[in-house]
């Protein structure tokens, strides 16, 4: 029973790590490439670390807590580094595939109720 659970966790972790790096290699612009590894790879490594914690907790003496430390550290630091990478990319004004937001039309539609509209003033 434990062996099946461990095999499932290890396979899930390896497949998610592979998918995250596949997204890093294959996607088109930087912002979508940022999306792949920061989520999928973190989940994959977390799953592998849970498998390792289960194995060493049931095999050796006592509960093994090294893996929980690594998992906690990775889960805290991965969003921070992704945020900094996105800030650096926006600072360098990297091209994005997404279309720019249409500010002008939204303002004209919503401008009737709030703000001094120049065409409705009198």
């Amino acid at each position: 029973m434990l062996e099946y659970l461990l095999s499932f966790l290890i396979l899930t972790g390896a497949v998610f790590t592979f998918i995250g790096s596949l997204g890093l290699a294959r996607l088109k612009d930087f912002y979508t490439r940022l999306h792949g590894p920061t989520k999928a790879t973190t989940l994959g490594v977390g799953s592998l670390l849970i498998a390792s914690a289960l194995l060493f907790s049931t095999r050796g003496d006592g509960v093994s807590l090294h893996e929980v430390l690594v998992t906690l550290f990775l889960f805290i630091t991965a969003p921070v580094s992704a945020h900094l990478l996105a800030k650096a990319a926006l600072h360098l004004e990297l091209p994005s595939l997404a279309p720019a937001p249409q500010e002008e039309t939204h303002d004209r539609q919503a401008g009737n109720s709030r703000g001094p509209g120049p065409h409705k003033g009198a």
Binding site: A25, P37, G60, V70
Partner: protein, 89 residues
């Protein structure tokens, strides 16, 4: 069952590391390369954990923890350099 799952997992994670290297060499901009390095250290942690499971040895977690620490510090330092032109202001 673990006897064939672990080699398959090794192959998948090694392919992931190879794709990270491809993005590291190819990457058109600097944040792409920093992102490839960031993913590379996370995948190295995965490889070390797999090696620990395969050899049934608990010696590798300290190395994994050190790589996690130093990799995060390196990513933050490189991003700060891109953002500010300086690391410690």
């Amino acid at each position: 069952m673990l006897s064939w799952v672990i080699p398959v997992a090794f192959a998948l994670v090694t392919a992931a590391v190879a794709m990270n290297f491809w993005r590291l060499i190819r990457g058109p901009s600097l944040p792409d390369r920093i992102l490839a390095l960031d993913t590379l250290y996370v995948n190295t942690i995965a490889l070390l954990v797999l090696l620990g499971i395969h050899l049934a040895s608990a010696l590798y977690f300290e190395a994994a923890l050190l790589i996690a620490l130093m990799g995060f510090v390196g990513t933050v330092a490189l991003c700060k350099y891109l953002l500010r032109g300086d690391i410690i202001e």
